[in-house]
């Protein structure tokens, strides 16, 4: 766990204001604690940093405290958040699809139903690539090879049970193949997985668009398809759906409130997020990071999370990762 204090003069000032003029601004928090259940540098940490940058830029909130509790795709951080932040209306946790998968695969006793879904903020499409020298020119070629002998087509991607593995399993299932037979080669990060692809060690690779975009642009990897409902501007490749594979997956990230916050506090936090998402600072962050701004708040987001839990549990069961 790490703490980072931004003790700008402004921050001190606003804290002082919060103490002195408390009752006046009681409704909206004047400082925000962001709990990141992952290590600094990853996607959730970047989301936290982008929220901070956007809110500062648009003068929504200027005092932040970011806390990290990394481990196991959020399965280590979530129990800590649930037990230590109860009722804190000025604290949000970053989370997303990866956490849904990790909680299921690890049979975690603590679930996302114990925190308060506030908003889905971003989505990132997954892309399926092959090395430049690969005989597979289109997604159809790859699918044909999988249908012929699924074990022969090896996929490199992130850790087992993560977004990349889930997509591989969904594709196999939609082709009528056994997801467990997919030759999935798990790597701990984007770097080693990309190296395996560049060295022509595996047939194909799956990862977030951002991870592979530069290699694709340089012509070292060929993009065959993206997993989003619509094509992605960065990558010249069809969607899976238009290629006849009925699969859609977005690596979404969002924010959650602490358990036991009042309905008022929940509404204030959602209003805060909505205000940020409408501002120019957030638009800049989305563009810079290559994320889709797929804002969904409140009850609609809660429903979405519930559906994702059911969907992901099913696919992880098919993959043999949920006992």
């Amino acid at each position: 766990m790490l703490t980072r204090r931004h003790t700008l003069r402004l921050a001190l000032l606003s804290t002082a204001l919060a103490v002195v003029g408390g009752p006046v601004f009681a409704a909206t928090p004047t400082s925000l604690n962001i709990f990141v259940p992952a290590a600094p540098g990853g996607g959730w940490d970047q989301t936290a940093r982008s929220i901070e940058a956007a809110m500062r830029k648009d003068n929504i909130i200027s005092s932040f405290r970011v806390e990290h509790r990394p481990g196991a795709g959020g399965a280590v951080g979530l129990p800590v958040f649930v037990s230590s932040k109860k009722g804190q209306g000025d604290t949000i946790m970053i989370g997303g699809l990866v956490m849904v998968g990790s909680l299921v695969a690890n049979n975690s006793p603590v679930g996302l139903n114990q925190v308060v879904p506030l908003a889905r903020l971003t989505g990132e499409a997954e892309v399926i690539v092959v090395p430049a020298e690969s005989p597979f020119k289109t997604i159809k070629d790859l699918i044909e090879a999988m249908k012929k002998d699924v074990g022969k087509v090896s996929f490199a991607g992130g850790s087992a049970g993560g977004t990349d593995h889930i997509l591989a399993g969904m594709i196999a299932k939609s082709l009528g193949l056994d997801p467990r037979k997919v030759a999935y080669v798990a790597y701990s990060g984007g770097g080693p997985a990309q190296a395996a692809l560049l060295g022509n060690q595996v047939s194909a690779g799956i990862s977030g668009v951002g991870e592979f975009a530069e290699q694709i642009k340089a012509g070292k990897l060929r993009a065959l398809a993206v997993s989003s409902p619509n094509r992605v501007s960065d990558v010249d490749a069809p969607t899976l759906k238009e290629s006849g594979v009925n699969v859609e997956l977005s690596n979404w990230r969002g924010v959650f409130g602490a358990p036991g916050i009042s309905d008022e506090q929940r509404k204030d936090l959602i209003a805060l997020i909505e205000k940020m998402a409408a501002g120019s600072g957030w638009k800049y962050e989305l563009e810079n990071k290559g994320w889709d701004g797929i804002l969904l708040t409140g009850d609609a987001f809660k429903k979405y999370v519930d559906e994702e839990v059911i969907r992901i549990t099913a696919i992880l069961t098919d993959l043999g990762l949920k006992k």
Binding site: M1, L2, R4, H6, A39, P40, G41, D45, Q46, R49, A53, P70, G71, A72, A75, V76, P79, S102, A105, N106, S108, G151, K152, S154, S159, A160, G161, G162, H165, A183, Y184, V185, A186, Y187, S188, G189, G190, G191, P192, Q194, A195, A196, L198, G199, Q201, V202, A213, E214, Q215, K217, A218, K220, N288, K289, L321
Partner: protein, 498 residues
């Protein structure tokens, strides 16, 4: 423009007063965090990322590179003086380094580590400047089968630390492999041996085990079996600097260590620890001073691994700058810093951002010189730490180890693990089990297992994949010769002698 012209341009950008200052700040901070167990360069750079909002790109990367190199220097200091490695690539340094320190040769050990780091860092940086392309092409030839064979070769190195009883040494190795298995299995996503403890899901940090076994274990051993009477002070026997003989024994080890460390560092799954094991094994094998290893401490055993870990640090930057591949935690965070400047790191980085990349490389040369200038005079100061009476010194080590471990994750579970490992270290020492194989098993075991399973997934369970790929076969043959070579050699020579 050719390489030299680019480099000259890089120097002109890196030598501005403000960038020199950033470089100095970087290497100083880096040395400090290298000294502390726990806080590594990756975390430090991550915590400094908000700086990128305020500082221009060149300065920020010069700072980050300084921190990275500095941490590699600093890690050896506590390994040698306190048997408490500051980061995982310095664990091997403590094997001989601490023995030397306890035999009054701390100055020579620290000097050979500092100068060796400088030599290796410079060789590595030269490699990065001139042979990055071919090295990267070679490194990409390594697939899971080759990595597995490399790990098999690395396992041979355990023979250098087995001690008197092979059975005891191998038992320790198996304990290490078991500790390495704890946590979520990457290939299946399932937790192993975590017993429902969420803190164990991501595995046990190898530094906690090393510090527990080495530093805490030794402290407990001394407390239990130490002499009573007036406290004894470790003596600094000879001059604190290296003698002519030390130079003669060190320089070859520096070169050998650099040559092992740089290419393995450049491999996407090579890591910084594997070359230190290989270097230690080589030094012990080829040394004419076998009796000093594990007793009074052999200077080659410090010089080689220290050079290997610094050269591998330069190696890690090769795939990062040549291909935009983040192959270590530190490289991944540096790449994410590129993004906050709107620079997309990738294979075209060298073409699109030549000024930035070359000033970064130039700053590595400068940083290396600064680190040498910073660290050598400190040797005299560091050695004084050993003048502290033993009971106080060991109490200090215990406090230091505890704070460092708590700093890694602020988790009480980690502290309990540290002390559990300390008790295990005490028992192992008491019953004459070597502790170093535990660390080797813990680092190599999971690497070998993951690569083996990756290779099996790709080959659909065909074991001949390890023998049909030339690089893999070559590595296995070297490993075989490493084990059986001396025996075959003696068989071949006997008839000749008769």
């Amino acid at each position: 423009m050719d390489t030299l012209a680019h480099l000259a341009n890089g120097f002109s950008l890196a030598l501005t007063p403000i960038n020199l200052l950033w470089c100095l700040v970087g290497v100083t901070v880096g040395t400090a965090i290298g000294v502390l167990p726990g806080l590594g360069p990756a975390l430090t750079i991550a915590l400094l990322l908000p700086l990128t909002y305020k500082v221009d790109a060149t300065s920020a990367f010069i700072l980050f590179a300084g921190i990275y190199y500095g941490a590699m220097y600093g890690g050896s200091t506590t390994s040698i003086l306190l048997n408490t490695p500051g980061e995982s690539a310095s664990i091997v340094t403590s094997l001989e380094g601490n023995r030397m320190a306890r035999n009054g040769r701390a100055g020579a050990a620290l000097s050979t580590a500092a100068i060796g780091s400088f030599v290796a860092g410079t060789i590595g940086t030269i490699g990065l400047t001139f042979v990055a392309e071919p090295i990267v092409r070679f490194a990409l030839k390594f697939g899971p089968a080759e990595y597995f064979s490399l790990m098999v070769l690395s396992f041979v190195t355990v023979s250098a630390v087995l001690g008197n009883s092979a059975l005891r040494g191998l038992t320790a190795l198996v304990v290490g492999i078991f500790l390495g298995m704890i946590g979520i299995d990457l290939q299946t996503g399932q937790p192993r041996f975590a017993f429902g403890v969420t803190e164990l899901l991501d595995g046990i940090n190898v530094l906690i085990v090393a510090v527990g076994l080495f530093a805490v274990g030794e402290t407990l051993y001394l407390a239990a079996h130490g002499k009573s009477g007036p406290p004894e002070v470790l003596e600094v026997k000879d001059s604190i600097w290296m003698s002519a003989a030390d130079w003669g024994r060190s320089w070859k080890a520096w070169i050998r260590g650099s040559l092992v460390g740089f290419p393995i560092g450049a491999m996407p799954a090579g890591g910084a620890e594997v070359p230190t094991f290989l270097s230690y094994w080589m030094e012990k094998r080829f040394s004419k001073h076998q009796h000093e290893f594990g007793t009074v401490g052999a200077i080659e055993g410090v010089a080689g691994p220290e050079a290997a870990n610094n050269a591998s640090a330069a190696g890690v930057l090769v795939p990062m700058l040549a291909l935009g591949l983040p192959t270590s935690a530190t490289a991944a965070i540096m790449l994410s810093a590129f993004q906050s400047y709107g620079i997309n790191p990738g294979p075209q980085l060298l073409d699109t951002q030549p000024a930035l990349v070359w000033s970064l490389i130039a700053s590595l040369y400068i940083g290396n010189v600064m680190l040498l200038v910073l660290n050598l005079p400190l040797v005299g100061l560091w050695v004084k730490i050993l003048k502290v009476p033993e009971p106080l010194l060991y109490a200090g080590i215990l406090v230091f180890a505890t704070i460092g471990t708590y700093g890694i994750s602020r988790s009480v579970v980690d502290l309990l693990l540290l002390y559990a490992m300390g008790i295990m270290g005490y028992l192992m020492r008491r019953f004459d089990f070597p502790t170093a194989p535990v660390i080797i098993g813990m680092i190599l075991g999971p690497l070998a297992e993951q690569e083996f399973r990756r290779a099996m997934t790709i080959s659909q369970g065909d074991l001949t994949i390890f023998l049909t790929r030339p690089l893999s076969l070559t590595l296995l043959i070297i490993a075989f010769l490493g084990v059986a070579g001396p025996w075959i050699w003696s068989r071949l020579r006997k008839p000749a002698a008769v």
